[in-house]
């Protein structure tokens, strides 16, 4: 996407909010469970761009980079859309990043490439 000039300041898009209801990490996955073109047409430009890009499962970082929207704004907008079930924030399957089951699965996956 071409570099855009921010005619609108980020805090206008987010209503001054910087925090989100749920923890949204840079690698947290989001996806659109069922795409609704009528819903999409009624969204604000930034919301719509993020909604369209999330039709394919993506991490927050990918969504932000591909949409050309800063990570902070992406977080707040994704949080809003997720609260209406329009966007799915994928649940953490493992208790923590140090969950032994997770670590073993990563080792197994990496071993295939080693």
């Amino acid at each position: 996407m071409a570099k855009r000039h921010w005619k609108v300041r980020p805090y206008v898009l987010t209503g001054g909010r910087t925090r989100t209801r749920q923890q949204l990490l840079v690698h947290t996955l989001v996806s659109v469970p069922y795409y609704d073109s009528v819903f999409a047409a009624g969204l604000l430009p930034e919301q719509r761009t993020l909604y369209e890009h999330a039709r394919e499962t993506r991490s927050l970082a990918e969504l932000s980079a591909f949409s050309g929207i800063s990570l902070g704004v992406t977080r707040v907008v994704v949080d809003d859309l997720a609260s209406t079930d329009r966007l799915l924030v994928h649940a953490e399957t493992y208790e923590s990043p140090f969950d032994r089951r997770l670590l073993e699965r990563l080792l197994d996956g990496l071993r295939k490439l080693a």
């Binding site: 570099k3 840079v26 990570l71 649940a91 670590l103 990496l110």
Partner: protein, 201 residues
């Protein structure tokens, strides 16, 4: 290599390993070697926020207003994907480092034996300011180890419990092994033994 798209699976979950180190030590090369997508450059991330401030000085270099960092992705299975995040080099972006490290499995801190000082700040961050388990890895640019690892460890003032390994950041298998070292170290640091070290309970 898996396709450019992630599996369409609502239970798909993700993990993250942080690739840190100074400027020019091979972070992007390392991510590119193993990522199934071309490394994504997130230059746009902070440009918008910093623009009004940095613009006050018309002579300021463009590169200082952006966070140049890359990340890549590796699909482990149809319900697990691993992200690799390279850290931005400049120290002024340390709040960004906290953000990147939150929820990570561990960190791989790359170093260049010819310019160890380039990675001092990164090592210092993980030793002092973060609880994230990390492994220091000498990137062998020409495939040759020019110094003894013990000398490097001493020069970096690494504590004995931080593993020091080597890799060739251009080689996918070498990077995979380095990442395995990170995961294994995290297992040990978080109270588990590496698989195979002891018989299963």
């Amino acid at each position: 290599m898996a396709s450019a798209s992630l599996p369409d699976n609502p239970t798909l979950t993700s993990a993250k390993i942080v690739i840190a180190g100074g400027f020019g030590v091979g972070k992007t090369t390392c991510v590119a070697a193993i990522s199934e997508i071309p490394p994504v450059n997130t230059e746009a991330w902070m440009t918008a926020a910093s623009e009004p401030i940095d613009r006050l000085d018309p002579g300021i270099d463009k590169t200082t207003t952006t966070v140049a960092m890359d990340f890549g992705r590796l699909t482990i299975s149809n319900d697990l994907v691993l992200y690799l995040f390279g850290t931005p080099g400049q120290a002024r972006f340390w709040p960004m480092w906290d953000d990147l490290c939150r929820g990570a499995v561990g960190a791989l801190v790359l170093a260049d034996s010819r310019r160890l000082d380039a990675s001092f700040a990164a090592i210092n961050y993980f030793e002092q300011d973060s609880d994230l388990p990390f492994v220091v890895c000498l990137n062998l640019f020409d495939g040759m180890l020019t110094h003894h690892l013990d000398d490097v460890r001493q020069a970096l003032a690494l504590s004995p419990d931080v593993p020091l390994i080597t890799c060739d950041a251009r080689s996918p298998s070498s990077v995979a092994q380095a990442l395995m070292a990170v995961v294994t170290h995290t297992m040990q640091r978080t109270g588990h033994t590496a698989p195979g070290a002891f018989p299963a309970r």
